[in-house]
């Protein structure tokens, strides 16, 4: 090539970098052990080197973080006039609550789960996590780097080998206030042959910015059902990046239901490292107009690395786009050389209910082994006219018929939720959204 130097992303609003740099340098990290300070420094320099990714970055092609680049978010200390947190969900055995990124003991109840599962706030165990912390996480990514630099709290869950935890653990992340920035950091380890069901709920009030990072280690033979309900305020920006490792004969079963945020990105990077490992990445997003009258953006970006032979993955995402809603799905499946006998199936479907809606889909297969069965499918469309007509010819009014069809469209993927109570709760949440938004 004549000249291979890459174009510099000079269009990044550079003012944002010093804002976070000074935020970082003003924090007192003196109590952190050396290794942790090094991790934070590395994260900060990764962010400082790039700033928030621009749409020129292929991975962020469709999701524009320009509103973050203004740099007017300020990380906050906990506030007492917090967003009102209701009681623990009926299906939950135990609960941890984080308000504006910080654990709130008086709102939490983790005693029920004591014993074979260790549930603690990250803040307290951080300094002892040297060999464990961040080993799955790619701190070189700017948003992840920023989290590594500024993270203070989150959950840390460790399930003992062979422990099957029946009760469901509920994690509530509530944010409030104007222009607050929070950086939750979560760490989860399921010991060999263990099983756990965990639900994260993200709620809030205000135009905050949350940028969370999680690492999940599902060891050999373990099963982890990880559910996520993202119901952030429709003026908020909600970024989340989970890094998942799946061991031999292990299962990582993820379902994400998203209705909130002005701009949300749920990114999951998984590596299946043991034979017999299986992955479910499932979800639904229902979006419409954001608080500012522009469209909500909901971005689901997944990466599945079939690193070894005899591993399988299944991926289904369904989107309902109303108003000026903007859906993004980017899903990449990588099958490495010699990773034979792979099955990877991916499906992305979007339903466009409004002529102002927009969807961008990029499913990607990168395959270096021959004994594989991989597929992806993507569809975009509005409601099936024939189906609508059929229902109406049976006497069902148009709005009702429409609602029924939309509900069944989302219902197909909600059905995949393994846990019945959660399936019901998520279905109800989706139905409520439909009643409030799409029916009318």
């Amino acid at each position: 090539m004549l000249n291979t130097k890459r174009r510099k992303e000079t269009d990044q609003v550079s003012s944002v970098i010093p804002v976070y740099q000074s935020l970082y340098s003003n924090k007192d990290h003196s109590s952190d052990p050396n290794w942790l300070r090094e991790t934070r420094d590395a994260g900060m320099s990764a962010f400082a080197g790039q700033g928030f990714p621009s749409v020129r970055n292929e991975k962020w092609k469709y999701t524009n973080l320009a509103s973050l680049s203004a740099g007017d978010f300020i990380a906050v200390e906990p506030e007492n006039d917090a967003f009102k947190i209701g009681p623990k969900s009926a299906w939950a055995e135990a609960r941890m609550v984080f308000v504006n990124g910080v654990y709130r003991e008086e709102l939490s109840d983790i005693n029920a789960l004591k014993g074979q599962v260790k549930v603690v706030r990250l803040h307290h165990s951080l300094s002892t996590m040297k060999d464990y912390f961040g080993f799955l996480v790619d701190t070189a990514l700017p948003t992840v780097g920023l989290n590594s630099a500024l993270m203070q709290d989150g959950y840390r869950v460790v399930v003992a080998d062979k422990a099957k935890i029946d009760g469901i653990l509920e994690l509530v992340f509530a944010n409030s206030g104007h222009k607050n920035a929070v950086f939750p950091r979560n760490s989860l380890k399921l010991g060999k042959g263990s099983e756990l069901t965990l639900v994260e709920r993200h709620v809030g009030q205000g135009s905050y910015f949350t940028n969370s990072v999680g690492e999940v280690d599902v060891q050999d033979g373990a099963k982890f059902h990880h559910y996520r309900l993202q119901d952030d305020d429709i003026s908020a920006i909600s970024l989340s990046h989970s890094f998942v490792r799946v061991g031999a004969d292990a299962l990582y079963d993820n379902f994400a239901l998203s209705t909130g945020a002005k701009l949300a990105r749920n990114e999951i990077s998984c590596v299946i490292e043991g034979e017999g490992g299986h992955l479910n990445l499932l979800g639904a997003y229902l979006i419409s107009d954001a608080a500012d009258g522009k469209g909500q953006t909901c971005d689901t970006t997944t990466f599945i690395d079939h690193a070894v032979a005899n591993t399988t993955s299944k991926e289904i995402y369904k989107g309902v786009l109303d108003g000026r809603g903007h859906g993004v799905f980017q899903g990449k499946i990588l099958v490495r050389e010699d990773a034979q006998k792979i099955e990877g199936n991916q499906l992305s479907r979007a339903l466009m209910l409004s002529d102002k809606a927009e969807i961008n889909t990029k499913p990607e297969l990168e395959i270096y082994a021959d004994d594989v069965i991989c597929s992806h499918g993507a569809t975009v469309g509005d409601l099936d006219e024939e189906g609508l007509f059929y229902l109406r010819s049976r006497g069902i009014p148009k709005t009702k018929a429409r609602a029924l069809l939309v509900k069944s469209f989302v219902g197909e993927v909600l059905e995949e939720i393994h846990n019945e109570a959660i399936r019901e709760a998520f279905t109800e949440h989706a139905s409520n959204w439909l009643v409030a938004n799409a029916e009318g």
Partner: protein
């Protein structure tokens, strides 16, 4: 179809040599000095005795090219191209331009005969074979057959260099109207240094009476080929156009950067078929053509229809995305592709379907086959703009892997801004099934033939889109391209 029935016979007749087009024609050539500069651009333009406006257009493109960078987003890797070590113009020496085939150097006619394109015979078999050929040898067109017959019908089919002289208004109006000089790195380069290519104009209401075809041949060493094709189908016109490409076996890489522009007015239809069989390099990846091509069709008129069919078996590196701009209401775009990579070949190919008008429809059928240590990527974009109500797209992308050292990749982009658009995309990747191979072998069919049969079956949806003569050729190519990939 009958062509499929014939496969077996044809496959059997395949000669043992893997790339039978690898010979060199010994003919006296004249070249521009090596390298690239404004002077070279001027040299080419002068050589072609071009009008000033054409030279200005070239220079604008060249100056813009200097500000651009070679794209690096495709999944291909190759040695840097040294533009200063490439000849941008090479042509067989001839004293005066040949007026008829009788004046063409017999050595050239023999070359095309060896390539299976007997220019003379075809002229004689007028009405029987029914294919008019423009033969492009390195930088220039050496012969165009059937011109008189086409002229009767009002169809203009001539080398583009000649069209610049004879039909400047048409060329001025349309050249660059689909792929502008600033479009992309390789297109800009082509605009600056293109040497020849074919020009077709089919007037209103004319159904072109025969298939048109251009046969591209790179012969000279260290020479890039930069041809440019422009086809205009006026209202209610129809034309089917075929192109074929070959090159000698050489150890060093050679650059081919072409631009093809298709313009379709109301109710017009163009069927464009390619069998690309440039020299792919040897088993270790030495030599072969770098094939960087920009092909784009603009369905400007309502109800127009364009269909791209390509069989890509050659080249060391292929970078090519024949695209459709569906601007006219109810216009249709189709892309049928077979891309086969073996040994060290790399292909990054696909299409773009840009839905702008209402009720526009597109269909993409892509079959990628990867063997040896090759990498084969489908990259495509389906975009529906807000005005494209009721746009429809169907995409089927299948990849087949043969052997465990190759790669098959699928990168589709789907960008939809209209709620009434309906898009369906399906992609699969799998290997040739052991069960299928065994079934064939149990019936007495040897492994390589069995593989060719199965792969041809896998590609059938695309093969059947090709004109008959090409379909047979393509099926043979499928078999040859995969030689040595099993066992």
């Amino acid at each position: 179809m009958a062509a499929t029935v014939d496969t077996v016979e044809r496959v059997e007749s395949i000669t043992a040599d893997k790339y039978k087009y690898g010979f060199v024609t010994d003919i006296e050539m004249e070249s521009a000095p090596i390298g690239l500069s404004e002077d070279i651009v001027r040299f080419i333009s002068a050589k072609k005795e071009e009008p000033q406006w054409m030279l200005d257009w070239r220079l604008t493109a060249y100056r813009h090219w200097l500000t651009m960078e070679e794209p690096n987003w495709a999944k291909i890797g190759y040695e840097p191209i040294d533009y200063q070590q490439t000849y941008f113009f090479a042509a067989p020496k001839q004293k005066v331009a040949p007026k008829s085939l009788d004046e063409v150097d017999p050595e050239l006619l023999r070359t095309y005969e060896k390539l299976g394109i007997p220019l003379k015979e075809q002229e004689m078999l007028a009405g029987v074979v029914g294919v008019a050929v423009d033969a492009v040898f390195d930088s220039v067109s050496v012969a165009t057959t059937f011109r008189a017959k086409l002229e009767e019908a009002g169809v203009i089919f001539m080398p583009i260099s000649e069209a610049i002289q004879k039909h400047p208004d048409l060329v001025k109006k349309y050249m660059g109207s689909v792929v502008p000089t600033t479009d992309n790195y390789f297109a800009a380069l082509n605009c600056a240094v293109f040497t020849d290519g074919s020009f077709v104009y089919v007037p209103k209401g004319v159904h072109c009476p025969m298939e048109l075809s251009t046969y591209f041949r790179i012969n000279a060493q260290n020479t890039g080929q930069f041809e440019r094709t422009l086809i205009i189908a006026d209202d209610d016109a129809y034309v089917s156009y075929l192109e074929g490409c070959t090159a000698p076996m050489r150890d060093e890489n050679q650059l081919h950067a072409a631009v093809v522009e298709l313009v379709l007015h109301e109710n017009a239809e163009i069927k464009y078929s390619t069998v690309q069989n440039w020299y792919p390099g040897d088993e270790e990846g030495k030599g072969g053509i770098y094939n960087f091509v920009t092909k784009r069709a603009k369905c400007a008129g309502a109800n127009s229809k364009v269909s791209w069919t390509q069989v890509e078996t050659g080249s060391a590196v292929t970078w090519k995305y024949p695209s459709c701009i569906l601007q006219g209401d109810n216009s249709q775009g189709e892309f049928y592709s077979i891309a086969i990579t073996n040994n060290m070949q790399q292909a990054d190919t696909g299409t773009k379907m840009i839905h702008i008008g209402k009720n526009t429809r597109s269909r993409i059928i892509s079959k990628g086959i990867s063997a040896g240590k090759a990498q084969n990527t489908y990259r495509g974009l389906v975009k529906a703009l807000p005005r494209a109500s009721n746009a429809r797209n169907f995409t089927q992308c299948d990849s087949l892997l043969i052997g465990d050292k190759c790669g098959a990749h699928t990168v589709p982009y789907i960008e939809i801004s209209n709620s009434t658009a309906r898009i369906e995309h399906e992609a699969t990747t799998s290997k040739v099934s052991e069960d299928q191979l065994f079934y064939c072998r149990q019936r007495g069919i040897p492994e390589e033939e069995a593989l060719a049969l199965i792969v041809n079956g896998f590609c059938k949806e695309v093969l059947q889109e090709l004109p008959m003569e090409f379909a047979v050729e393509a099926q043979k190519l499928v078999a040859i391209s995969l030689e040595g990939s099993v066992g």
